[in-house]
C-alpha cells in the first residue's frame, strides 16, 4: 500500500486515493472507487495543461467527504503557483467530486483540464489476492453528455456512469474542459460518478442495498443524531475524549445496510477489505459497544437470524442453525468462485450469537426480541451439539468441507499458522480451540436464563445448565497444561494439547469457564512478561516456537482481543490487571489519533517507546473501534444488575476523572462517574 492514502466511505461504497485525490490503481494497490465489492474506478487522474497536480494539504472532513488543495507543477516550484485547485468529494449513493479552479494571476489564462478515467471492475478478492484476470468483457461508451464504463459477463453487468454539471468533452480515456479564466476568476464543475448494478434489460439490480443515507445533507444529519444519541464522555485526560469521539464517528462510518433487512444497519468489519457483514466481527463489535450504541445489537441479531443456515451445503459450509461468517456481493461470489453468498465457515459466530442476545436483553430489557428469536437460538444450540462436535466428545470442532476456497482456521485467529504445538508444528484436523469451548459454555449458561425467564421452559434451562456444568468440568480436566499452569490453545483430534501460551486464555475468563481456583494463575500470565508487552497482551507468548512480534496471530497485539481479555479479568475480580491492560491499549490509541489499528507489534514497550503498526493492518476496523468503548465499560465496572445499572469504577491514577453521561438501557438514561485511584505496578517486559 502506498505511504498515505485518503479514504472516505459510506456503507459498502468507499474511495481510497492518494493525497492528491488521484487514483492510479495497479493490480495490488487497493486504491479506487469501490462499491458492492467491485472496483468501479481504477484510474481517476487530474491534469492541467498536461501537468499533474501537487497536494498542499487535504482534510477528511467527515468519514464520507474529503477536500484536497492542490497546485500545478512539481513540489520544488509550486510556491510560485498562480493557480489553486480544490477537489471536494463525497460518497453517499454515488461519488461526487466538485472541482474548483482559481486563477490568482492578474492576467487571464488558457487551461486544458483533463480527468483520466478508467475502471477495471476488479472484484475485491482479485485485488486482495493479486489475481486480476477478467473472464468477461470490459466496454466503454462515449456519449455527448456522459462516459459509460462497463463490464459484462453473462447477465452480470456493472457500469460506471460519469456526468458533469458543465459541458465536458468525453472520450475513451476520460473527459476534458478547455477554459479561459480571466484575472481572479474562478471555475467550478460538479462531476457525478454513479455505480450501477444492472440486470437483463438494464434495470438496476441493487435490490434495496444502500448505505444508511444517500445525500450529503442526510448523512450530515444522520451523523449528528448518531453522536447526540450516544453517551457523552468527559475526561481529564484529553486524549481519552478524542479517542471516544473518534470511535463513535468510525462506528457510524462502518455501519452497513445489507439488502436482506430494509434500512437496518450492522457494523461492517473494516476498511478497505472488509466492508461487509461478518458474523464474528459484527457480534463482537456489538458486544463491545452495547452500553453506548445498543441499537446495533438488535439489528445485527435480526440480520444474522434472517440468514441463519437451513440446509447442508459443503461449498458454503452451511449447516442448519449455523450463523454466517461473511457475505459478499462481487463477481467471485456471484459466479461461485468464492463461497461468500454467504459463507458459513466460522465456528464461533453461532455460540456468540446467543451470548449477544442475552447480553443485549440484560442491557435493553427487550424481551420481545428474545421471544422472537427463540427458534433461531434453539437451532444454534442444536448446531453446537450436533454439527460442530466433529469428534463426538462434546467439544466444538472445525474442519473445512470446502477444501478449495474454505478457511483452514475457522476461529478468530484464522491465519494458516495460528494454531500450533509448543514445538511449532501444526496439528491435524479437526481442531478445537479453547476460546470457542468457552463461548459454547457461556452460550448454554445464558440460553438457560433465556429459557427460564422468557421461553417458559424450565426443563430446557436445567438441561442446558447440566450440559454447561459438565462441559466446564471436562474442559478444566482435559485442557489444563500442567507444566505451564494455563489452558491449551487447542486440542487435536486425538485429544493432544496444543500446549502454547496464548491470549485466548483471557477469553476463557470472559466466558466464565475458568475454575475459580485457577483464575489467579491465568490473570498472572496475562499481565506477565511473556504475554504482556506493556501496551497489551500478545496473541502468542514470547518464548513459543512460532512467536514473532509481528506475527499476525503469533505475537502481534490486537486491541479487540485485549478488550475482551480485560473484560474477563474484571469479571473474575482482577480489576488491577484489567486496568493495566486498559491503560496500555488506551495509551497506544494516542499514537494513532484515537483510531486503533487492527493489530500492532508485540515488541516490548520499553524497547520501541511507541506501538509499531502491523504492516498491512486494516483501519478503521470495527472491533478495534469498539475496543476503547469496552475498556471504558470495564474500568468503570458498568454492569446491568437487577434492572439497574451498577457502576463500580476501578481506574488507574493517571486516568483522572471520567464521566460517562446518559448511558442508555432498561433504566432509561443514567450517568457514571469515576476517579483514578488505582496505583498500577509496572508490568510487561
Amino acid at each position: 500500500m502506498p505511504g498515505n492514502t485518503v479514504r472516505i466511505l459510506d456503507g459498502n461504497t468507499f474511495v481510497v486515493s492518494e493525497e492528491s485525490g488521484d487514483i492510479e490503481a495497479t493490480a495490488t494497490e487497493p486504491t479506487g472507487l469501490f462499491s458492492l465489492d467491485t472496483r468501479f474506478l481504477s484510474t481517476w487522474v487530474l491534469t492541467i495543461n498536461g501537468e499533474r497536480l501537487n497536494p498542499l494539504s487535504y482534510d477528511d472532513l467527515q468519514y464520507y467527504e474529503a477536500r484536497f488543495f492542490l497546485v500545478p507543477g512539481a513540489a520544488t516550484h509550486y510556491v510560485d503557483a498562480k493557480l489553486s485547485v480544490v477537489r471536494e468529494r463525497a460518497v453517499g449513493g454515488s461519488f461526487r467530486e466538485t472541482l474548483t479552479i482559481l486563477n490568482h494571476d492578474e492576467n487571464s489564462v488558457e487551461l486544458e483540464v483533463r480527468m483520466a478515467a478508467a475502471a477495471d471492475f476488479a472484484d475485491l478478492f482479485e485485488v486482495k489476492d493479486d489475481q486480476l484476470s477478467k473472464k468477461g468483457e470490459i466496454y466503454t461508451e462515449v456519449e455527448s453528455d456522459r462516459l459509460r464504463l462497463g463490464y459484462r459477463r453473462g447477465n452480470f453487468r456493472r457500469e460506471t456512469v460519469i456526468t458533469s454539471s458543465v459541458p465536458a468533452r468525453f472520450d475513451q480515456g476520460g473527459f476534458a474542459y478547455t477554459l479561459h479564466l480571466a484575472a481572479n476568476e474562478q471555475w467550478v464543475a460538479e462531476i457525478d460518478v454513479r455505480t450501477l448494478t444492472l440486470g437483463p434489460g438494464g434495470r438496476d439490480l441493487r435490490m434495496g442495498l444502500r448505505a444508511h443515507g444517500a445525500e450529503r445533507l442526510a448523512l450530515q444529519q444522520d451523523l449528528r443524531k448518531w453522536i447526540a444519541d450516544a453517551p457523552k464522555v468527559n475526561s481529564e485526560r484529553e486524549d481519552l475524549t478524542t479517542t471516544y469521539r473518534r470511535c463513535l464517528v468510525d462506528l457510524a462510518a462502518l455501519r452497513f445496510v445489507p439488502f436482506s433487512l430494509g434500512g437496518a444497519a450492522l457494523p461492517a468489519a473494516g476498511l478497505p477489505w472488509f466492508m461487509t457483514m461478518f458474523g464474528r466481527d459484527s457480534i463482537l463489535t456489538c458486544l463491545q459497544v452495547l452500553p453506548f450504541t445498543p441499537e446495533l445489537s438488535k439489528t445485527t441479531l435480526q440480520i444474522l437470524a434472517a440468514l441463519q443456515g437451513t440446509r447442508f451445503d459443503d461449498f458454503r459450509e452451511e449447516d442448519p442453525g449455523r450463523i454466517l461468517h461473511e457475505m459478499r456481493y462481487g463477481e467471485t461470489a456471484a459466479f461461485e468462485e468464492q463461497p461468500h453468498s454467504p459463507y458459513y465457515g466460522s465456528v464461533d459466530a453461532t455460540p456468540l450469537f446467543i451470548v449477544l442476545l442475552d447480553e443485549y436483553e440484560r442491557w435493553s430489557g427487550d424481551a420481545d426480541l428474545v421471544r422472537a428469536l427463540q427458534v433461531e437460538c434453539r437451532a444454534a444450540l442444536k448446531w453446537i451439539d450436533n454439527y460442530a462436535d466433529l469428534v463426538g466428545n462434546g467439544y466444538v470442532w472445525y474442519e473445512r468441507r470446502n477444501t478449495d476456497t474454505g478457511l483452514d482456521n475457522q476461529c478468530w485467529k484464522d491465519s494458516w499458522d495460528s494454531i500450533s504445538y509448543r514445538d511449532g508444528t501444526l496439528p491435524p484436523f479437526p481442531r478445537a480451540t479453547c476460546e470457542v469451548q468457552g463461548y459454547a459454555y457461556d452460550a448454554k449458561v445464558r440460553a438457560a436464563r433465556l429459557a427460564r425467564e422468557f421461553w417458559d421452559d424450565p426443563a430446557f434451562a436445567e438441561q442446558l445448565e447440566r450440559e454447561a456444568a459438565d462441559l466446564k468440568e471436562r474442559f478444566n480436566r482435559e485442557w489444563w497444561v500442567e507444566d505451564g499452569g494455563y489452558y491449551a490453545l487447542a486440542l487435536d483430534p486425538d485429544g493432544r494439547q496444543c500446549d502454547v501460551l496464548s491470549s485466548n486464555i483471557g477469553h476463557l475468563l470472559w466466558s466464565g469457564i475458568v475454575a475459580d481456583e485457577r483464575a489467579p494463575r491465568i490473570a498472572e500470565h496475562l499481565v506477565g512478561p511473556r504475554l504482556f508487552s506493556g501496551w497489551g497482551v500478545r496473541t502468542l507468548a514470547k518464548g513459543e516456537a512460532r512467536y514473532n512480534p509481528i506475527g499476525y496471530h503469533n505475537g502481534a497485539i490486537w486491541p479487540f482481543d485485549n478488550s475482551f481479555v480485560a473484560w474477563g479479568l474484571r469479571k473474575y475480580g482482577f480489576a488491577e490487571e484489567a486496568a493495566t491492560i486498559a491503560n496500555g491499549i488506551l495509551d497506544a490509541a494516542r499514537y494513532f489519533d484515537g483510531r486503533l489499528p487492527e493489530a500492532f507489534g508485540g515488541y516490548p514497550r520499553e524497547l520501541t517507546k511507541f506501538p509499531v503498526e502491523y504492516p498491512t493492518a486494516c483501519t478503521p476496523q470495527a472491533w478495534s473501534t469498539g475496543a476503547p468503548l469496552l475498556l471504558l465499560r470495564t474500568m468503570l465496572g458498568l454492569e446491568p444488575h437487577q434492572g439497574h445499572l451498577a457502576v463500580e469504577p476501578r481506574l488507574p491514577v493517571g486516568m483522572g476523572r471520567i464521566e460517562v453521561l446518559d448511558i442508555p438501557g432498561r433504566w432509561g438514561r443514567l450517568d457514571a462517574f469515576a476517579r483514578g485511584r488505582l496505583d498500577l505496578r509496572q508490568r510487561g517486559d
Partner: protein, 123 residues
Amino acid sequence: MSEATTAFFKELDRRGYEPLLMRTTGTVRFDLHEGAHTTHWLVRIDRGQLRVSREDLEADATIGLSPALFEELAAGREHGIAASLRGDLTVSGDPRLFVQVERLFPGDPRSRGPRRAFEREVR
C-alpha cells in the same frame, strides 16, 4: 421438464406451515419466463402459514428467472443468492421476502454435511 419445480411448490403448499417464516408475512410471485411465455407461481405467507397458487396477482416481491434455473434451484443444484448476484434471477419489490423464501430451497444433493472424524457422518 419441470418436475422439481412442480414438486417444490406442491410440497410447499402441502406443508402449510413453515417455522422458518414464522415472522414473515407477504406475497411472493415467481415469474418463470420462457420466450414470450411466463408461468406464475404465487406464494402467500402469513406468519409462516403458506398457500401456493398459479395466480398472476400483484405481489410484495416478484422474482423473475428462467424455468430451467428454477428447476435447478428446486433440486438444490443452483443457489438463489448467488444467482441473484449474477443477474440470472431478478427481484423486484421487497428483497427481504426473497431472502427468506430462498432459505426454503434444498441444499446441494452432492453435499455430505459435517462428518465425525472417527465415526459415521453426523447428519
